[in-house]
Symmetry: D2
Subunit: 508 residues, 4 copies
């Protein structure tokens, strides 16, 4: 699941959730070859929802104000105008959202507290490009508390919460972002973070790779002073590995997407809950007794299967990897080919990361009322395009729910048009976002403080000790008490008492 494809805007005024959905990047790349079109569509919304109530919040809409922020003259209360946001006057609203988010992100707050003496990021000049939400605001202000100077742009033209941006600007952060940027605005904002007199960034925090790309293209010399890149997204990480392969990566980069803690929470634990939530919110179906086929038994598939089994569904699994297949068997699932069960199942869920896993042929053979949805990494898994044929009728019955009707009256129920169910139709708990943000902060600290030579011009995983530290910062949420090794035990095991505790190949 792509961590940068989040969902849900909540409008507090009406108390009603309005789901905004954007097409997946990959598909659009193919379909819309023009640069502008691609950009505006390829940006996905990633405003995060939250573990608890309070910050599943909402924001003043300001839709009355049509002036472009770039054309406005704004100052914060200290007289600074080194920012560009929708409306600096919304700062108070945004501050309140940030305060609520702080309560739900104790790991970052703990980092701030521990950094009161030492400032591990003293001297760091971080240029960042991420979604701008209350949660990332907590991250930014934590980086500040750790000693860093920051300049920030949005990684998505739609996902900025204007009040939060205003609050950051008010408290002195040079933020350049608003909701509804144009393609041109997007790059202008990035440029304003990078290219300022008297500012020479030495760290990059990126989500999607656009910031990195911009510097490579426009200011390649800047990399001489840059100590490292921290990249959060699947897409951005992919680009970095390609740069590295091509020998063009000129600073160390850290892939935080594949750290243990982040992966388990983004996939296994999060999907175990969001599959149920996504199906309920869209279809109100009952799970008990239903026959379900889950395509793919990776972390996402494991989470989906465990949840549905627990709710009394009968679950079948398809797999291409014999090791995962054997795991499915031992976990009590019949391993089948999709064809074997397609006529009998009530629900089809894809979690493969592959394409055309559910084909038109499969869709033709499904029984009436079969529900089809995707929990995998993009909208390629179900061949939705094959359903856009004249003999089939589409009927939108709810937001995110289409009936596709065959000539004989058979309906299949397609959710989120084959895009990610968990992002389109459920929410991402703050707890998961907290793990991501903490991982980013620690990766910045590690790269910034690493002794000469520890990291070369390559892509690295977060050191296991840091991964363990992220986990340890989140244990208090559960009132969980870790045991410490005695000196004698540490010696017996040949371990440092503070970790790392496992070899790199450990599988958890």
């Amino acid at each position: 699941m792509l961590s940068n494809k989040k969902k849900y805007i909540v409008n507090r005024k009406s108390g009603i959730k309005a789901q905004i959905q954007f097409a997946d990047q990959k598909q659009e790349f193919n379909k819309r070859p023009t640069k502008i079109g691609r950009r505006s569509l390829s940006r996905s919304i990633s405003q995060s929802s939250t573990d608890s109530y309070s910050s599943a919040a909402s924001y003043t809409d300001s839709s009355d104000d049509e002036t472009s922020p770039r054309d406005k003259q704004q100052k914060n209360s200290k007289g600074s105008s080194d920012f560009c946001v929708k409306n600096i006057k919304q700062a108070e609203f945004g501050r309140r959202e940030i305060e609520i988010a702080e309560q739900e992100m104790p790991a970052l707050m703990a980092l701030r507290k521990r950094a009161q003496g030492e400032k591990p990021l003293a001297g760091a000049k971080i240029v960042g490009c991420t979604h701008i939400t209350a949660q990332t605001a907590v991250l930014m202000e934590t980086l500040g508390a750790l000693g860093a100077q920051c300049r920030w742009a949005a990684c998505n033209i739609y996902s900025t919460l204007n009040e939060v941006a205003a609050a950051l600007a008010e408290s002195g952060f040079p933020v350049f972002a608003w909701k509804g940027e144009s393609e041109d605005d997007f790059w202008w904002c990035i440029d304003r973070c990078v290219n300022v007199e008297g500012w020479q960034p030495n760290m990059i925090l990126d989500d999607g790779g656009d910031l990195t790309h911009w510097i490579y293209k426009k200011y390649p010399n800047m990399f001489k002073k840059i100590k490292g890149i921290v990249e959060e997204s699947v897409t951005g990480v992919h680009r970095l590995y390609q740069l590295s392969k091509a020998g063009k990566l000129c600073v160390p980069a850290m892939n935080v997407n594949d750290s243990v803690t982040k992966q388990k929470f983004d996939n296994l634990y999060c999907c175990r809950e969001s599959i149920l939530d996504g199906l309920k919110r869209t279809t109100d179906m009952m799970f008990g007794g239903k026959q379900v086929v889950v395509c793919g038994y990776g972390e996402v598939g494991k989470g989906c299967c465990a949840a549905l089994k627990a709710m009394g569904s009968i679950v079948y699994v398809t797999e291409i990897d014999p090791i995962c297949a054997l795991q499915a068997c031992m976990d009590g699932f019949r391993l089948v080919k999709l064809n074997e069960v397609i006529r009998q199942v009530d629900i089809v869920i894809t979690c493969t990361g592959n394409k055309n896993v559910v084909t038109r042929e499969h869709l033709d053979r499904m029984k009436n009322s079969c529900i089809v949805c995707n929990m995998g990494h993009s909208n390629t898994e179900i061949d939705v395009a094959s359903l856009r044929t004249p003999e089939l009728t589409w009927e939108r019955v709810r937001s995110q729910v289409d009936h596709v009707i065959w000539p004989d009256g058979k309906r299949i129920v397609l959710l989120a048009e084959g895009r990610l169910l968990n992002l389109s139709c459920s929410t991402v708990p703050t707890f998961v976002l907290s793990i991501t943000a903490t991982t980013q902060a620690l990766a910045l600290i590690e790269l910034y403080n690493a002794p000469e030579g520890r990291y070369k011009q390559d892509v690295y995983l977060l050191p296991k000790k840091m991964d363990e530290y992220v986990a340890s910062l989140h244990l208090p949420t559960f009132d969980a008490h870790l045991t410490e090794l005695t000196d004698e035990q540490a010696k017996y095991l040949g371990l440092n008492k503070n970790g790392p505790f496992k070899p790199n190949y450990y599988r958890y």
Copy 2:
């Protein structure tokens, strides 16, 4: 859980769910002594939601038409005007909803098919008073197909779906119901079902006891011809037992609320899913690792505990009944008193049917952000009234979600103001409604056809054989294949091959 307190209106036009919530009957009885006030508040919405997508539907609002239906002159296409609905022209919309519901209620459709030769309700004249939704329309038309004549009113002033009522009227059912009846309208509609020239009802189908009450009060002689009453709700059943105790019940009555199949589905199986759904929709919380205390380990509590345990919560249970307590132990839950864990838990869920299970003292001791909600049978379990004191601040953060804030800043998160979470904040699957409707139909058949003397002037449970029949009609949904006894086996067991299969005290 009260079966007649259902929830959720879905407006298709906007694609947005608007939750309409009504106070619980009991509380309001105490608070609002005036008859009108009581009536208008005591009526709860029970529009059913659905197992699957399609009929979680919505309806044209006609809010432009302010004329009272009682003042309109309407005729259906066959020229009949023996009905009173909002707008007969909406019949086509309603018919479509009924058709969709038919697909999801195969048990009733099977009853229709089996009744093509024999008409087990031939000669039956049923007066009914229930929520008027697509699902109950399927029930009514099934009763018609089985040979009955029916006249129908709504048991709730808000819950009628006008289009469905129109469709029923169009196809010849004398229906008297619309959304937004006044107290006076309510009784007028009931009276129009009962007191018509040339109509002498011989069966009553009631949901809440108002119809029964009206006849007792106004037309007591009518009971001479009435063969029996079928009552669906906890409240109505309670009234019948009181009548029976007082020696005033003058016809046999059937309590369908306590039939095995209905109970298990309304409580254990339905709540196993709705606890998760209700918590997610309101708070977007993550279940994994959360500490939860569930008060009460009856069917509802068992469902809640099983679901939360499966999602990785740590669950504590409180109980007053040592047998249920021992079950909780064997099912792997720590049995505690609420005081022992109240400071540490993240969620408190009541499912006792009792009052003041969660007191102000408990609420004072909860930790910050603790979520409090009720899955039991009314809004008495949490002492919400005790939170209406000046030093506490209430903040509505979402529909159905209040923050109650202590002077020191501690917040507790109160869901649905202590009313039923599952009805306020999640949906009831059509499958559960189908079981209820089928049970009602079979109870009518049984009472109508019972030989003289089988039933006296008392309250009866549905005969086990009928209960088994309801279950058997729902097995095809799961493609489930029942085994038949051989003659030799039936003889060995001393059973009829067609059931009933268990002694009356069997606990399932």
Copy 3:
């Protein structure tokens, strides 16, 4: 599962378990019409095993001593010779076993403590006929502590633990029982309990109905003074209901077999564990990924299915009762006819209480190495007799494990020759035996103290309040803390604060 068909003799000397297995009563009744033959075969072993280690004990064998106990002159240390046991000198060994069992039966010990002031059985003269094991010794001595006088015989010719009998005799209990009684000995022992000068029993505690039968036949007048019968076994209860139907029951009788607590523990909770234990001990198989069909979804089937599902097996269910069938569906099991899956499953388990559920035809179609076993109530479920044909070869590969080999080399693995797997091949925890014994004690107290007229000449279930009391006495084992109703709550619910807490039809 018949509670009087227990298992396992443990020989401490060798540290080795020797399993003694007896045929089921029902079958033998049909097959062996002679009285002696029937008797000696119909007696099943029911030595109880234990929840924990220590008393899964063993006993001195004394096989060297061939003299019949009836021919010996023995006195205990106080000079009494009113007993007949194998060897009074073994008393010390037996006492130690009883002391260990006491530790594991805290409910009975609690009863003793509570009875220090009042003696609820003061004046009771109980004649008992049960298995004579350390656990039943704890029961007997508890009855004594509650004020009763007792005389005791064994209900099974093989199940007596001689050391325990000796210990009871030494401490003054008139016990008449030894391991390896003849048919004649059996009745002689019973008679010695009943027919003694100066002894007029007023209560009967029976397990299997033989004692009751003997008094009916030989001393019918004795019933005039008898206040009631407590019967423990399925068989004995069946006989009592027949007497009652025939109008021949002349005292109240209490069926303790069907009390809630006993049923849930004997069946659901016990079988959830013993199915795994029985299969492992006999076959060392791995459960993960195995396909299993469980015939019957009553309490026993529910336990088996839950356990195997949790261990990663894929479980299919067959049922004749549509209600249980629907429960199986909602619990996540495919409901099939046996024929549909017989070729593919790795294990077949019967728990129906029915006969010929697995026929020769099914056995012919099973795949190689399929395991077949029975968890139901007798050995009729699998048609084992059909396998005794010349073309099939039987090979005993272990105790309780036979390979039946088809001409083409196919083997099926038959466990315990189709008798009860849980009794033949696993153990019954002391906790379960404690619940049974406590239930018996409370039933005796209830019948003995009931006011005139509460019980008529009929068969009764244990009053719910007593059932609840049994449960409450076992909660401390789990450090479980019950909540008490406040006065206000009790009034609201219309309940007594001390229970009973549920209506009689409550299903738990």
Copy 4:
């Protein structure tokens, strides 16, 4: 869990299991400094038990024959005397055992079939040193069928099954092994495999490292012709890594212990079942409602926790690694320090691989009847030595079960004297052994056929593709149907259609 510490000898004649237990290597290394003593004690028994019934077999004891095999003159039926076994005449018994094991090891049989054309081990001369059981015999004969010549010795002085050794000798395998070898015999047997005129081994299959050690010490030049070492045990692998670090490893070695499939089955899946089995067989306890603390949440701990939770126990976890700790939280277990719960738990289970996890102080604080056992990798986890003090009384109540009694009468129940419960008191299913044997065979094939330069003088993990192949060979056991990638899909994913399917860091 050490794969070379297996358990259980089954004597078919008596139908009784005799458990032979040996001390753990590590402890004995410290305690017994003399070479002979160390050797004879450090050898553990590893006769494997089986997934199913038949081969949990037994063997003729031949205890009458006291002549040392080295002093006997034996020939097989073809006249060869190039072997040394207890008694060649037992070959027929052994053959039958091998045939039964073949049925349960379809993966090796499939390898034989696929190798009918090509002989991937043609020319291989393998010297092996493993336990000699029916399962390893199937492995050896498979290696033969793949083209290899083999000579074989036992890796354990007690674990050889004499009949199986005889059967191998009879069919032409030069086997040098018998049950009850002396220290001198042990090395003589190894030497007879290595040092034979006209035999130059080119592959080593070792289990524990003794064979490798012998060649290093005695015939270092032999390594010039050796293509590689395959090592199975934790201990042997550890030695190889040390050799490698010291720069003394002069051929490639393959660590098959850490392959994915083997690890998951040896630990997670196997322990999920064996914890229940080991506890039941030793204590007959009931799991429902018991409070259990599991120390360590690695694969073994995860398996134990999942099983006990499913059986209704309340499980607490202790951990030192925050990542595993967070997993425990998300899986629904309270994370505590041992001290917090030690007074209240009924069972303590160690699975840490650490030492002194349970100290005398903990033991002093446990409640009466607490059960203490170890599922970790050696007998160091519980400080059993601290219990050997005069004030404590030890009482052996069953094989593998000791009561340790405090002066105040408190007893704790110590299982297997703190050695591995799963190996001492339960069995290892054949399915798990099959995975191990197949992994060994594939590792030999890989090393033997690898092109020059693929492997250097280092220790390697099994290539992922081989790991996947092992898994795929075991899927047919579950009638599991793998999906194949289409060409288009493989291209989209950038994968070969035949795998490997995952990056090396994938965690499964």
